[in-house]
């Protein structure tokens, strides 16, 4: 803070406030409250009240008690949905890592022109609505879709096979939607590695594989961790893609909540399911808060 101090010596009017250093930079409490008031109103009415009401309903509808939670834990169908949700989220996370890491590596290490091309291939899906991308997967995977056409034409199969409305289709489409959230933090981590480290390793005789295993991979671990967390959390509560690409046999937490809200109109049970989903998500966020702050970079790249 030397610069403001020095200027302060010459500035007659502001000199007094200068001596108490950066306090001039801080707005007084009243101003802060005034600035934040609209946000308070918005969050209070649009977020805290509805979510609180939904969570409350899980204990009060239809009558006070833990009935909704008991039903969730005692019905095998719902437990299977819970287990499937976690499994699908883990599968999407792993697939995103396997597919995303090479792309992030290429983006960070290739020549400028090529890496820009790779970057464009990553940003194009990121900027396209998830709804449009889910629709595109329906077009590709349906009975008379792209994949079946190609397989039929090449004689691999004689009958169209069922690809859509399966768990595999959900994992595939969701991976496509979420993989940019893996690529960007990993890319950030690899780009932050000093090139001298790689050069030093090469000079000491390490081959490309050794450089990758001993330098690049360990130093990109924070990015991997952040990417895995982000894709896992988003996959847990994703609605659009499983609702469109999935079928009755691949019901997930999010689609089950939707079904309970619009079809069976059991808002108490929908509240209980939401509470479970919310608590799991928040628990993960709180446990790994530090790793997630790595993800802020997304707002700069995206």
């Amino acid at each position: 803070m030397t610069t403001p101090m020095r200027i302060g010596k010459f500035a007659g009017r502001a000199a007094a406030s200068m001596t108490s250093s950066p306090s001039w930079r801080q707005y007084p409490l009243g101003v802060s409250v005034f600035l934040i008031a609209p946000l308070c109103l918005l969050l209070g009415f649009g977020f805290v009240y509805p979510v609180g009401r939904l969570l409350g309903q899980s204990f009060f509808a239809p009558e006070f008690g833990l009935d909704n939670y008991r039903r969730l834990l005692e019905t095998p169908l719902y437990l299977r949905v819970l287990a499937r949700t976690v499994f699908v989220a883990l599968a999407v996370m792993s697939a995103s890592l396997v597919l995303g890491y090479p792309v992030a590596l290429a983006m960070a290490r290739l020549r400028r022109g090529l890496s820009n091309l790779v970057m464009a291939c990553v940003l194009l899906p990121l900027w396209t609505s998830a709804l449009v991308r889910s629709y595109a997967w329906i077009v590709i995977l349906q009975r008379r879709g792209l994949v079946n056409d190609v397989l039929l034409a090449s004689g691999v199969i004689s009958q169209p096979i069922k690809l859509i409305y399966t768990e595999g289709a959900v994992i595939l489409a969701m991976t496509h939607v979420l993989v940019p959230f893996m690529i960007l933090p990993v890319f950030g981590a690899i780009r932050a590695i000093q090139p001298e480290l790689v050069q030093a390793a090469r000079n000491l005789g390490a081959g490309k594989t050794t450089v990758f295993a001993k330098v690049l991979l360990p130093l990109s671990l924070p990015g991997i961790f952040a990417g895995c967390l982000m894709t896992f959390i988003l996959a847990l509560g994703f609605y659009v893609t499983p609702a469109l690409v999935g079928g009755p046999s691949s019901l997930l937490m999010a689609t089950l909540i939707g079904q309970q809200t619009t079809e069976t109109l059991d808002w108490g049970f929908a509240g209980a399911l939401s509470t479970v989903l919310l608590c799991v998500t928040l628990l993960i966020v709180l446990l790994f808060r530090k790793a997630l702050s790595y993800n802020r970079g997304i707002s700069n790249v995206a």
């Binding site: 200027i7 001039w24 801080q26 090479p102 396209t128 709804l131 991308r133 809200t261």
Partner: protein, 294 residues
């Protein structure tokens, strides 16, 4: 010099019997090296194809002449776009979505910028807690928010209603504005503001003529993200839409489930092109500002 040219030069030097051997570049490619990079390149190509293909597929789809989905299309037509534009339901949904997105952009940018200033410059009790609450709509599953808002807004006649959407979408869009504006404020050199104060400007004048012009890229980015966060939003829109007030995403959702016509491909192309244009303009704007500052 490209590696190939280097290699050629080194080979020539070796052939000429000079001391070229010593100058042999370290990057001389062995066969196995060449194979590895070719295989790696091939896999990279496949992954990139996986990323891009689903988006590219919808373009030929929307111009194909067959009424069922056919790829590649046999004949070309603009029929599906014509149907989209002449269908009153699609028109109403598009108009409703654009109206909500523009209003959301305005309100989220205002509310978010004001709050970002308080977060960056103010000091008050529970600031970090409040920041976490502001950003939480980005992390909390949208299905939970959607169901919660639907259940809370229905009895207030706010479902299927412009103001209901405005509140819900502004809440979803504000985190993007707060993040970009706080980042811009942290990059801003506060001595400039001090200079303005010392030259006799009041707090408010210093803000509008010094601080705001310097953070305008952050504010603009936030506004663009807010627009897309509302326009492309499907989960909350699915639950909050009514028979009258229906967004384009909800209409698409319904049609994908009930009558899968190529009109949806045409609408998808329209949505995608709008997103790409908006983000492209933002990117160009950012680049222009960065080069102007250099």
């Amino acid at each position: 010099m490209s590696p190939d040219a280097e290699f050629a030069l080194a080979t020539r030097q070796v052939e000429e019997g000079g001391e070229g051997l010593l100058l042999l570049p370290r990057r001389r490619r062995s066969l196995s090296n060449f194979l590895t990079s070719t295989v790696a390149g091939f896999f990279l190509f496949l992954i990139l194809l996986f990323l891009v293909l689903p988006i590219i597929v919808i373009f030929p789809m929307s111009f194909g002449s067959a009424s069922y989905l056919e790829f590649p299309p046999r004949g070309l037509t603009l029929n599906w776009y014509r149907q989209y534009l002449s269908d009153p339901d699609w028109r109403a949904a598009t108009f409703f979505s654009v109206k909500i997105a523009l209003a959301t952009t305005f309100s989220a940018t205002m509310v978010g910028t004001l709050a970002a200033i308080a977060f960056a410059r103010g000091k008050f009790l529970g600031k970090s807690l409040f920041q976490a609450l502001t950003l939480s709509p980005m992390i909390i599953p949208h299905i939970v928010i959607a169901v919660a808002v639907f259940i809370a807004f229905s009895p207030l006649n706010l479902s299927g209603n412009f103001f209901g959407f405005l509140i819900a979408h502004t809440m979803l869009a504000v985190p993007y504005v707060v993040l970009t504006v706080v980042a811009a404020l942290e990059r801003f050199d506060t001595t400039l503001e001090l200079a303005a104060l010392n030259c006799g400007a009041g707090r408010i004048r210093a803000f509008f003529s010094v601080v705001l012009p310097n953070i305008r890229v952050g504010v603009a980015s936030g506004a663009v993200f807010a627009f897309l966060a509302s326009f492309d939003e499907a989960t909350v829109a699915f639950f909050l839409s009514g028979v009258e007030g229906k967004t384009i995403t909800r209409k698409m959702f319904e049609d994908i489930d009930f009558n899968l016509t190529p009109v949806i491909a045409a609408v998808s192309v329209v949505l995608t092109v709008i997103s790409l244009i908006v983000m492209g303009v933002l990117q160009a704007f950012n680049r222009a500002t960065v080069s102007a500052q250099r």
